[in-house]
Subunit: 332 residues, 2 copies
Amino acid sequence: MYPAWCRGGSERRRYAARVPLSRDPDRLVAAALAGDRRALARAITIVEEGRAGAAAVLGAAYPRGGTAYRIGITGAPGAGKSTLTDALITALRAGGEAVAVLAVDPTSPFSGGAVLGDRVRMQDHASDAGVYIRSMASRGHLGGLSTAAPQALALLDAAGFPFVLIETVGVGQDEVEIANAADTTIVVVTPGWGDGIQVAKAGILEISDLFVVNKADRPGVDDAVADLRAMLTMGAERDWQPPVLTTVAITGAGCNEVLDEVHRHRSFLEQGSGLEAGRRARRRGELHTALAAAAGRRAAALAASPEQRAVVEQVEEGALDPWSAAERLLDS
Amino acid sequence: MYPAWCRGGSERRRYAARVPLSRDPDRLVAAALAGDRRALARAITIVEEGRAGAAAVLGAAYPRGGTAYRIGITGAPGAGKSTLTDALITALRAGGEAVAVLAVDPTSPFSGGAVLGDRVRMQDHASDAGVYIRSMASRGHLGGLSTAAPQALALLDAAGFPFVLIETVGVGQDEVEIANAADTTIVVVTPGWGDGIQVAKAGILEISDLFVVNKADRPGVDDAVADLRAMLTMGAERDWQPPVLTTVAITGAGCNEVLDEVHRHRSFLEQGSGLEAGRRARRRGELHTALAAAAGRRAAALAASPEQRAVVEQVEEGALDPWSAAERLLDS
């Protein structure tokens, strides 16, 4: 057999075909960007699981992104986020737009498993080539979006979807993270979900670009809308006044209006410098998160090394405080 | 004037008295541990704000702790955690026990301010020398308990309170953190709060040692109790079966029974090796968090340095992915 460098084109192609796509980051990314959904799924799995090649996949895909418009959908458990997401997919598809969805579910911290029950409905779109849905468990204890979520979003962005929906359950910190990851953030509440003070407490007033009171066929919807509007007038002055809409997502009622308001918010951002400024801030934030994670990994490896066992043992016994122990380990 | 080394004892004392207590970590900690509440408050502020002397305060106080029994109280916004905390203070005081409370409130990520409205009721105990209440904002975006919360808990522990209550709002990640920080974790829910799947989704089934259905004078309480019990039997097998209790915290109804169950859980932990094992795991976790935070601080300082400006600029423009940029910065 001739060495690889003197093989002809067709033989090179045959040789390349024998190397699994998942072992060749450049070819995998090229396939994913050319519309191969299985290649895209594999690329996301590689970055999600931090497998060999993850860095190469990200390095190849990241600079190809930046065109997707990212819509975040968040709110308390049971508010109907998945149903609204489903309705927004339908509305975007009716307009002929391809759409990717990243659904991030909380992980049970002890069992390690994610509860993905609500995702079942979305699978109705599975046979539509213009829709790509990916579920992801939020790993670890650093918040609602996992480390891999921004990476998966970068891949979906690079794959050329004009719209990417990001859905995550939870209140508080999750919403802050989703607001950082999205261009437009929708917060979904339900009638009776909570009075204004709870909205303010969770810190979600400032991060929402659009409020949706879902399940608007239930009693209390007018009160919920009035509460939100009152809180919004009391909040900090913003150039963009977040609208408060009502939907019955399960029937689709009001969902086209939600999409109209998303487009209106997008125009608002694009007319000012908001879109680019927001994206620069997001990338800077991703860098800081990545730096902290990478530095933390290196530090954890340090703490696990045998020569540092004595310091760790002192901390476990309560004889040495963890904070000076950490500085001591890093100085060593 | 004679130099300091040849002054007599009384003159040394007078000299020491002119150095503010807050500038002398050892004396501050000694005063806090001797029961001086103002010194305790100052010590907590020093660690919370990361002021000069924080490391010395922690280093001096930490090894003196380990005797407080820590009770975590958590649940969704509006469940009545503060009211239950207030009722537990009353019940513990009726038994003659001193008690400290650390109430951790979410920070508004944009305004930076914490909403501490619910704390007002607790201030009824302010004139009771056997009660010490401290509110703290959860800073940053790394979860429900701030970095400083474990440090404040270490100080309250060292100050000799036999019971420390930790109250935090939120669902999901906050509860995991509070479960790590507490010996016994109480999860407070309300009738109609959510069906079983929501409890399982938030991952709180496994972290709770005790469920309280508060506002038990409202409709739906029997369903809520039945839902929780059903979910508990479906969950992973545990040696400790978390009881489900009902309270009307605002009247105090059922609150003594909650305290009885806390004592029963404590006996359970003390009879096995659970208490010490849990505390060792907590300290190890605190070390890992401290390491990640300290490593992240050093990494952030690196990213802010002028010679790394070009790399950061590339990331902000979207030309370089943040994850390889992070590795590059750490390698440099």
